[in-house]
């Protein structure tokens, strides 16, 4: 049965969750940022932002995590498995684009063999999404086949129907059992449930045209031209909810150590550099091409999903204002032009 949740019951929901041992994460103001972070009560939750500055991925694939710990003594090594990384939690108020990134990333983290750090956190965390009631010029979810109220990836979806009331839709069994567990917090169906307040996100390009063009244009001047202003940092990849590349390093003292999995990014020149100094992607143009190709061609061919959810974070944070949807618009234009030539 359809339910609704009043804003004044948010606090009750959060407190009840915490009472049952769930950790609760929600968008929270932190100076100039709004970040998904742990909250104790609803008073800490921000609701008037477009999108959080951090993406949801860090709850499943943190910026740094130990995959092993070990002791070393003379020539002996003793390995210890990290424990307690998957904690029962609810992420409340994430955006549909962020939620959708999870099933997309499931594919790579389960490809052939499963990364337990990702998988066990996925099992432990329930996602309660709030559909976007506003957007900004960086948003382009509708261009990559999503919507500001898309359900995929969420366990529960809340959509605003009046200034303080949200209609509640359960998307997965996990979501349903969560709602059941905390049934008392929710109200019955709301009379105004048809009046959903959902943002209108402008469609910026035809995604269907992108891949065919990428198939043909591994070598093209646009890669270098567009990336001239790129400074080669990792901001875009680190804020991206679907960028999953990582590095594995050891950190140690004389007797103990950790093997650590850290975020890494394809825009760094060191990312692919061989020990010999040879670098398969030695220029920024090649690295930028890799980012676009990976998202809109390679991942599609491998996993039948676009590795982009249109959140626009990379464009927002880019130090040099490189805008990914603009890049895709350029590709679309190029594609149309070459069609016309034929």
């Amino acid at each position: 049965m359809e339910k609704s949740l009043n804003k004044k019951d948010f606090d009750n929901f959060i407190t009840s969750l915490r009472g049952k041992g769930y950790k609760t994460f929600a968008p929270k103001k932190n100076n100039n940022l709004v970040v998904l972070d742990e909250v104790q009560g609803a008073d800490e939750i921000s609701l008037d932002h477009v999108i959080t500055n951090n993406s949801i991925k860090e709850f499943f694939f943190p910026k740094t995590e130990n995959v092993l710990s070990y002791r070393m003594e003379k020539n002996q090594v003793q390995i210890e498995e990290p424990e307690g990384f998957a904690v029962k939690a609810v992420i409340f108020g994430s955006r549909p684009c962020d939620a959708f990134s999870l099933p997309v990333m499931d594919k790579v983290f389960n490809w052939d063999c499963s990364d337990k750090f990702w998988v066990q956190r996925r099992e432990a965390i329930t996602i309660v999404t709030i559909a976007c009631d506003k957007c900004d010029s960086y948003c382009f979810c509708t261009s990559v086949g999503l919507a500001p109220d898309a359900k995929q990836g969420s366990d529960v979806l809340l959509t605003k129907i009046s200034s303080d009331n949200y209609v509640v839709e359960t998307v997965t069994e996990k979501g349903e059992s969560l709602i059941k567990e905390f049934e008392s917090v929710f109200s019955g169906p709301s009379s105004d449930s048809s009046d959903r307040q959902v943002a209108t996100v402008e469609k910026k390009f035809e995604i269907e045209k992108v891949k065919p063009w990428l198939d043909e244009n591994f070598v093209h001047a646009v890669w270098t031209d567009f990336s001239l202003k790129c400074i080669g940092c990792g901001a875009c990849t680190f804020v991206c909810p679907t960028c999953h590349c990582f590095d594995i390093v050891d950190e140690c003292t004389m007797t103990k150590g950790d093997r650590v999995k850290n975020w890494d990014g394809c825009q760094f020149k060191m990312f692919t550099m061989h020990t010999s100094g040879h670098n398969p992607r030695s220029t920024q143009g090649e690295r930028w091409r890799q980012r676009i190709m990976h998202k809109f061609k390679y991942y599609v061919e491998k996993f039948d999903s676009i590795l982009c959810v249109g959140c626009g974070r990379c464009s927002r944070v880019c130090p040099a204002d490189m805008n990914i949807s603009e890049m895709l618009e350029i590709i679309e234009t190029e594609a149309s032009q070459s069609e016309n030539k034929e």
Partner: protein
């Protein structure tokens, strides 16, 4: 659920200094049960770790026909290989693998084999060479063409002697001009040239090439001239890798993940790849 990043612990039971900066370790599983269950095939690679320093990637250099141990040969180059070189017999290292695809040896039965390697690229071929030699009667002629910069840089010197002494192996060794010693019995010249001179027949023959990019670049046209079809020429690639499992996202050449779809490719497959290696 298993931790895919957890390595087996291996004991270094033996080591050989192959060439300046190049060393071979023989490894045994510390946990015998793990060793019994472990299987791999020629062409596969693994991640070797020195605890405290990290992991690095190279091929398994021993043959799957000799499963009592695993051998790896590496050249000291970066942080991990430098640390690896500091180890000694009796020390423990980590081993994660096997990963990647294999040389389709079964398909090669009844054919002639030509192995062409340059410098430190013999170790990846050593696994498949011994694999084939251990099943010697399944193949026809076996030719090994191996070159290095100098005589000192030739790896597996004792095995080169062994191969040279065998009647059923045709071994051609060469060193780059200037790298020869007064008593050097082999050829002097770059690998592509030596291949051209050796003129292995392409008739019913499989060629396996491995070496630095520049060597491969000049050897492939020679093989083509000798009449080798692209799908009869195999090579094994190498890229920077961190996971070996198709997740860390750096070893791809275009759409192809070297760690999963490779490292073994035919020349035909390589020619289809974008120019990104």
């Amino acid at each position: 659920m298993d931790n895919i990043y957890r390595p087996y612990l291996m004991n270094i039971s033996d080591m050989v200094e192959e060439a300046p900066g190049v060393r071979t370790y023989r490894l045994n599983f510390l946990n015998e049960d793990e060793g019994k269950k472990f299987q791999f095939r020629a062409g596969q690679f693994a991640l070797y770790s020195v605890f405290g320093y990290g992991e690095c990637t190279f091929c398994i250099a021993s043959s799957p026909t000799r499963m009592d141990y695993i051998e790896c040969t590496f050249r000291q180059a970066g942080r991990v290989t430098n640390a690896l070189r500091e180890l000694n017999v009796g020390d423990t290292l980590g081993f994660r693998g096997p990963y990647g695809n294999v040389f389709p040896i079964d398909e090669w039965e009844g054919k002639n084999l030509v192995f062409i390697a340059g410098g430190i690229a013999l170790p990846p071929l050593r696994s498949v060479i011994w694999n084939c030699l251990d099943l010697r009667d399944k193949f026809k002629d076996v030719t090994i063409i191996y070159g290095a910069k100098t005589v000192a840089d030739l790896v597996y010197k004792h095995e080169l002697k062994e191969w040279d002494a065998r009647d059923d192996v045709n071994l051609v060794t060469t060193v780059d001009p200037g790298g020869e010693t007064p008593d050097w019995p082999g050829k002097v010249g770059f690998v592509p040239t030596v291949v051209e001179q050796a003129e292995p027949s392409s008739n019913n023959t499989i060629a396996v090439v491995c070496g630095p990019p520049i060597m491969i670049k000049f050897t492939l046209p020679v093989l083509e001239k000798l009449g080798f079809k692209q799908d009869r020429v195999y090579t094994t690639l190498e890229n920077r890798m961190k996971c070996g499992l198709g997740k860390c996202g750096r070893c791809n050449i275009g759409c192809t993940y070297v760690c999963k779809e490779g490292p073994v490719f035919t020349a035909q497959e390589i020619n289809k790849m974008p120019d990104e290696f």
